[in-house]
């Protein structure tokens, strides 16, 4: 209990004093996670929608695989990305290991199946409602996808936020591919792991509370910016 109280006080101190290290770590956390979220959403949302409306051979297998990939162990993802990006790996020439870009790549791999799977579930239900109407109106495939994505945007936002939640709290993969280098690849989660290891529980908890506050703030901000409760122009 004492540790938690101290953690809350430490979190308040870090925020009130705008601790430069905390600000840098938090900004990097946001940069990495939001970048990963954008890239993953660009892949996952059209993919999930296409899987909902397109019939093809092995479709069920593809959906089952996608659902299974939601449970990808981040440490394994980190390891694979590490091997790919390491100097002797196939992408070693890019020199991306221990950079934020490598962390973004690992997070994209981790959250894309989650966003795509939630998108697929939501779009499948919406497609079953809209199917006859959209076929009847002789819509093209692109028009169907656009219609479903627009009318299902609130659910898609939830899918994206689920991806954000998973990415911002992720530690295993980004620790491996980022290396937790001070002033370079240290983010909130890896800093928490480091401080916990050093026995600085108050600071670790303080960073943890900041992380939680950040996640909640981003959720609110995305909801507000996307104006989910308003109707679009007609």
């Amino acid at each position: 209990m004492n540790d938690i109280t101290l953690g809350l006080l430490e979190a308040a101190r870090l925020v009130m004093t705008l601790d430069p290290e905390l600000v840098a770590i938090s900004l990097l956390s946001l940069r990495v996670t939001l970048s990963a979220l954008v890239f993953a959403s660009l892949i996952a949302i059209p993919l999930g929608t296409l899987l909902a409306i397109q019939r093809f051979r092995f479709r069920r297998t593809a959906i089952a695989l996608l659902n299974a990939l939601m449970g990808l162990p981040p440490v394994v993802v980190g390891l694979v990305v590490y091997v790919l990006l390491s100097r002797s790996g196939p992408l070693g020439v890019l020199g991306l290991l221990f950079t934020p870009t490598a962390m973004i790549a690992a997070q994209v791999i981790i959250i894309t199946p989650l966003i795509a799977s939630v998108t697929h579930q939501a779009m499948r239900d919406l497609w079953s409602d809209y199917h006859d109407l959209l076929i009847s109106l002789n819509t093209s495939k692109a028009q169907r996808i656009a219609t479903l994505m627009w009318d299902g945007r609130r659910t898609l936002l939830t899918a994206a936020l689920a991806g954000f939640g998973r990415a911002i709290g992720e530690v295993g993969a980004i620790m491996i591919v980022g290396g937790n280098i001070d002033n370079a690849t240290r983010v909130l989660t890896t800093a928490i792991a480091l401080e916990t290891g050093k026995g600085n529980f108050a600071l670790a908890l303080g960073l943890g509370f900041v992380l939680i506050g950040l996640a909640i703030a981003v959720n609110f901000a995305i909801h507000a910016l996307s104006r989910t409760e308003r109707e679009g122009r007609w």
Partner: protein, 234 residues
Amino acid sequence: MSRILPLHARGLEVRRRGKRLLGPVDLTLEPGGLTTVMGPNGSGKTTLLRALHGVERLSAGRIDWAAPPEAAQAFVFQTPIMLRRSVAANLVYPLKLAGVPRATRLAAARDWAGRIGLSDRLDTQAPRLSGGERQKLALARALIRQPQMLFLDEPCASLDGAATQAIEDLLRKARDAGVTILMATHDLGQARRLSDRAIFMRAGQIEEHGPAGDVFDRPTSAALSAFLNGDIVT
């Protein structure tokens, strides 16, 4: 003036899991007028309409239109399918698909909202409308693109008298404006009120087809006589 009609359907068959739902059916639809399709449950009324409209896959047979019918035909389903958008956005949707300029489609939406008594509810979410309002909106959305051929699948099922009357008024006006209408109905009174021609179906086949006066007053089959007398026909 209809360019897509006459329509010639030859040897239409629809089978699902080995069971024949429709056919073989031969049918010619000339331009103009309102044709009702009557028959007991499971007689194939809905399947016939869906097959002619192109949303049901044919197992056999062919449909020949006088001209490509894609944008010139519309369908109103028994349970109105509402896009999860406002009344106005539902109305403009087919026009948007057709690339109609914004100003024109807004004017058309206001015009049609007036005709169906929803002028003051343009911004209301369509799924929140009553059953009768939803069906009127579905009909207006079908007519807003000025189709030459309109299919309706029991549009007044489960509607009260006032809503049914409003739908029938809209249908009369559409017919008078030159839209050719093919409508499935369970309601014999409605069929008598609206029909220029009538089709009686039983067991997936057309048993009688002709001018409304002949079908209603001089039925040639025992099943149609029984149906018109209100007896149970299977």
